[in-house]
Amino acid sequence: MNIHEYQAKELLKQYGVPVPAGEVVYTDRAASRVAEELGGIRWVVKAQIHAGGRGKGGGVKVANSVAKVAEIADQMLGSTLVTAQTGPSGKRVHRVLVERASRIDREFYLSMIVDRVSQKIVVIASAEGGVEIEEVAAERPEAIHTEYVDPGVGLLDFQCRKIATSIGLASRAASFTRLLKRIYRLFRDKDCLLLEINPFIVTEDGDLVALDCKMQFDDNALYRQAPVAELRDFDEEDPKEVDASGHGLNYVALDGDVGCIVNGAGLAMGTMDAIVHHGGRPANFLDVGGGASAEKIANAFRIVLTDPNVKVILVNIFAGINRCDWIAQGVVQATRNQQIDVPVITRLAGTNVEEGRRILTDSGLAVIQADDLDDAAAKAVAAVAEVAA
């Protein structure tokens, strides 16, 4: 789960990590009120969307007057921001963060992630802040410093000093160490997967401040992170994906025309691959998970069909923990309860497969049954061609 920059900064503040003074607002009037309250002569207005690349995309602007703050906020709010990470359709801006502008002396990069290779939390730092870390990694890998944290003892002071020295902050090692250990505590306490501060700055007054922040949390840990779970912004997510997750389905929208309903994440990806192999294009990833009831299958149909690009639906079930007869009943129920104008191809295998196939045959529905994965993908792609013809 991702959260907004202003929410991430709230969390940093709670852990004693300095962030610029500021407040999130939803209207231009509130923006000018906040700017006045903050005082100063320069402010920054930052569009709050769950995607990076905002600076280059015009989502971060500096204002030299309160009137300008209001003007920028007015332009941003309700507009669609397109950045390198939003995709061409962009993201709608519903809120902006108004902050007092910082006087930057130097910028750094700082992040923590759960690293799957070392199976540890790793701290990544670079003296080249404010730019994409991927670019630094590609062009000057020696400019990136990493420290692996032993989960038995946590982040140690000497490791923090080592990082401070490596990014040219040796003279501020003590205060840097204090902040880094607070950030690590936050990362561990809140079950973060990623925490990125880019840039982390030294102000002209010599203070260390987190100027931007991105946080990602472990979905699997949200059950014990209620305050974090409340920060979820459904406006930032595909409504179909939100709808699906509410029914225990895992759905990811893609841009093809073969709607997919599959059990298991691996087989769902494999099914997409088989479709591509036959020259087709999947419209979505959809995993119905284990214990797929008839109702779940019906919901899967409904969600897949809300995508107007879907020309064919392919149901591919290899039942282990599931049962083919339940799945077949779900297909029958789905086609009875809602208008389905596209061809439906089903491939059933595994537990109770004979019973499942019989239910489909006896239903008299115009469902095209496939023998195996290859046959199913071929029939789905052929059906798309027929619909188009």
């Binding site: 939390i121 079950d191 769902a268 990806m269």
Partner: protein
Amino acid sequence: MSVFVDRDSKVIVQGFTGQHATFHAEESMRFGTRVVGGVTPGKGGMTHLGLPVFNSVAEAVEETGATVSGIFVPPAIATDSLLEAVEAGIQIAVIIADGVPVQDMVRTKRYLAGRSTTIIGPNSPGIITPGACKVGIMPSHIYLPGRVGVVSRSGTLNYEAVSQMTALGLGQSTCVGIGGDPVNGTDFKTVLQAFENDDDTDVVVMIGEIGGQQEVEAAAWASQYMAKPLVCFIAGMSAPRGRRMGHAGAVIAGDADTATAKLDAIEALGHRVVRNPAEIGDTVLRAAKEAGQGPATAS
């Protein structure tokens, strides 16, 4: 022999009296698995499925001599159950739960460093030696005893690959699902090592997916140290970047994480790759024939 589990393995089930555990324990027993009891704290002394229930893994191990545990508890308490099993001397522990917080696994792996227990999972379909032992949730009837070793992240893709092989008369020595999480107990390389050392395995199939480099690292190890042919498939050729595809570990974070990049790297290391998941069975059959093994069933 087979790897990790065989017909002599004594298995206990943690979370024994739960609904899923009960269903799958019965299935496993029907399949011939030597389930010797189970653990549900607070229900010690009961009999379930005709077997003793214990309050702790330590008691279960002491009374039954079990060395293998199938952990069928919810994700929030999975690592606790795992560590209890490790402390009690269990040698092979299989965690089925999908949804274990990744930092729980980070801490658990640190705790396990230097210990000999083999952890399969979490988010695993389990492990099965056809005709001998099953610890997990896979549909037993699609498996056929034979000489192909199968290791995958995903459960259902494991079933898919196995059913293609079984249809061609190509049986399996052991099938291992290492799980779809980013931090897991046993990696691909460890399972490949086990298959390489197993007298009953001739050919090995590795089924991975987008995200991370574990499959490529395992393939690099194999091209140096493995004599047996290795066939690889990586799912998610059409997956978009930065999106989690069901499994917590299935996210493309960089160029090297894509299915195509991983398959290319594995092919360049000299292994056979499958780009269409419908052709896993055929490809394994060709590899088996070239290795001098036709469709062979029971060994």
